[in-house]
Every structure is written in structure tokens, then in C-alpha cells.
């Protein structure tokens, strides 16, 4: 038998709704009842499980990609001399 597709099951929530509530689910903001329905959907719907997995990975990848603004990825981009001078001159005016 083929792997059951999502729409062949009866769900109280559609995939669209699962997608909508995903952040609240991850933040632990769903009331217990809704959480149970959400989890039930996941137990029956591999595409939503995959989506949830990639959603979580997206957040993690973003954090890693931006972790170190001047690390090995971007070793101290040059700041124009004129800009440094303008900043220091503006300080004098400010004082």
C-alpha cells in the first residue's frame, strides 16, 4: 500500500492551520487541548513533520550565519578613512 497522504486522514486541523500555529506550538503557547490536536496531526502527516523540522533548522541556521559579525567570514571590512574622520569631527562639534 502507498504511504497514506495527508488528506486521506480525518483531521481537526488542516496543514494550513498547522502551519499557522507552528510558532505558537514551538513557543509553548498553545493551550493543552490545541497542542494535543496539533501533535495528533503531526503523527499522521509526514509533510507537516518535515516542514516543522525545516522551520526549526531555518531558525538555527540564521543564528549561526549571523553569529559573528566580524569573525572568520568577514574579517574587519574596511571603513573609509573619511568616515572615521567625519565621526571624530562630529564629536568635536557635539561637545
Amino acid at each position: 500500500m502507498n504511504e497514506p497522504r495527508c488528506e486521506e486522514h480525518r483531521h481537526d486541523l488542516t496543514c494550513r492551520e498547522i502551519c499557522e500555529f507552528m510558532m505558537a506550538f514551538l513557543d509553548g503557547e498553545l493551550p493543552p487541548e490545541e497542542r494535543a490536536v496539533f501533535e495528533e496531526h503531526l503523527s499522521l502527516c509526514p509533510p507537516c513533520v518535515q516542514y516543522l523540522d525545516s522551520y526549526k533548522k531555518t531558525i538555527a541556521l540564521g543564528k549561526q550565519a549571523m553569529a559573528d559579525p566580524c569573525g572568520i567570514d568577514a574579517p574587519r571590512p574596511p571603513v573609509p578613512d573619511d568616515l572615521v574622520k567625519a565621526i571624530l569631527a562630529a564629536r568635536k562639534k557635539q561637545a
Binding site: Y55, K57, I59, A60, G62, M66, V79, L83, I87
Partner: protein, 213 residues
């Protein structure tokens, strides 16, 4: 004398960025030492500019925001308590300055986010089976190319969504703080963050789903 300390060996002045080094620099800044101000700008401008560019891709906007950030720093340096490291404090000021510039400059039309949101069949269920991401969650910490790819994808997000994603997921500001900074309701921040993540996921999917399929 004092100005020469900047040129002295790291062991004498403390390793750049270390607590002793920071304390020394702060003391000289508070004493109004011009050389210390120059040292501060030269040392921190590159990383602050990098952070600001995430919010303001256009270079002249970014440079203006950097200048404004340093002016705020100069004004506030007396009040800096050292609760966080100097670098962390400067970073926060730079982000705030970038946001200020985003608010005040002329709004540019932005891409619609809808094209980057997931699609569903009419009955609300997923129309197609999705590609699996076999990538490990921490892969980007060891893979430079992947980090660059992710940064490029973040840059592709519509501006208002990118800003929220940066503040919430990268800067780890709270929903309330983000709402405050952007003059939005917390509910609006949540909705937009979720959309921004979905859109970023979509952008990454075409690259990561492929290799993982």
C-alpha cells in the same frame, strides 16, 4: 604617554577586547582623551558597520547610521555602567541607530512576502510532498559556504520582515522590545516573525532541499 598606550603591547594594555583593556579604554574616554576616541572608532567601526548593513543594505544609509551610532555612544559614554561588555553595548546602540534610520528615511517599495509563503491545496492540506532537509541543525557553525548562503537568503527577505527576523532571532530581543522599537503591536511582530521565518525557509529550501532529497 596616555595616547601611546594604544600602541603598546597587548600584555601591557590588555588583549584587545579583554576586560582590562576595555576598562583602560573607558577610563581614557571618560577623561576626554582624543586618542582614545579615535581608538574606539577605529577598533569598533568595522564590526558595527557590518551589523548595520544587515538592516541597511545601501551604503550611504549604513554609513550615516554608523555616524549617528557613534554620536550616541559619545553622549552616553559617561553613563555606561559596564553591565555588559563594551562591545555588546556598542552593538545594541548600532542596531538602534540602524532602526532609527530605517524609520526616518523614505520608505522604499518592498517585495511581497506572499510569493515566499507556503502553498496549500484548496482543502487546506499540503499539495505536494516536501523535500527533506537532511542537514544537521548545527551544520552552519562549521560550514562557511553555508553561512554565506544563509546570509544571502536573509538579505533577500522583504525589508520589514528581515528587520523583525534580525531583531527576534538574531539579536534575540523579546517580542515586546521588538514591538516597541518598531512601533508595532506584539501580535503583529509575532505574525511577521512567523512569516519571515517561513519565507526564509522557502528561500533555503530551493538550496537545501535539493542536496538533501
Amino acid at each position: 604617554m596616555l595616547a601611546d598606550m594604544a600602541e603598546s603591547s597587548p600584555t601591557a594594555a590588555g588583549t584587545p577586547g579583554s576586560a582590562t583593556d576595555e576598562a583602560g579604554l573607558l577610563a581614557r574616554l571618560r577623561a576626554g582623551d582624543d586618542a582614545a576616541y579615535e581608538e574606539l572608532v577605529v577598533r569598533y567601526a568595522p564590526q558595527l558597520l557590518t551589523v548595520i548593513r544587515r538592516y541597511l543594505p545601501e551604503e550611504h544609509d549604513a554609513q550615516d547610521a554608523l555616524q549617528e551610532a557613534f554620536l550616541s555612544v559619545f553622549k552616553a559614554i559617561e553613563r555606561f555602567q559596564g553591565d555588559s561588555s563594551l562591545a555588546t553595548w556598542l552593538h545594541r546602540i548600532a542596531v538602534n541607530s540602524a532602526l532609527m534610520r530605517l524609520r526616518t528615511r523614505r520608505r522604499r517599495p518592498e517585495k511581497a512576502i506572499e510569493d515566499l509563503l507556503p502553498r496549500f491545496a484548496e482543502d487546506g492540506h499540503r499539495a505536494d510532498p516536501r523535500a527533506v532537509w537532511s542537514i544537521r541543525p548545527d551544520e552552519a557553525s562549521v560550514n562557511r559556504e553555508l553561512r554565506q548562503m544563509v546570509r544571502a537568503a536573509i538579505d533577500e527577505l522583504p525589508e520589514s520582515y528581515r528587520t523583525i527576523l534580525l531583531l527576534r532571532d538574531i539579536e534575540e530581543r523579546t517580542t515586546e522590545e521588538t514591538a516597541d522599537l518598531l512601533k508595532l503591536s506584539p501580535a503583529n511582530v509575532k505574525t511577521r516573525l512567523h512569516r519571515a521565518r517561513q519565507a526564509l525557509r522557502e528561500l533555503l529550501d530551493s538550496r537545501l532541499g535539493e542536496t538533501a532529497r
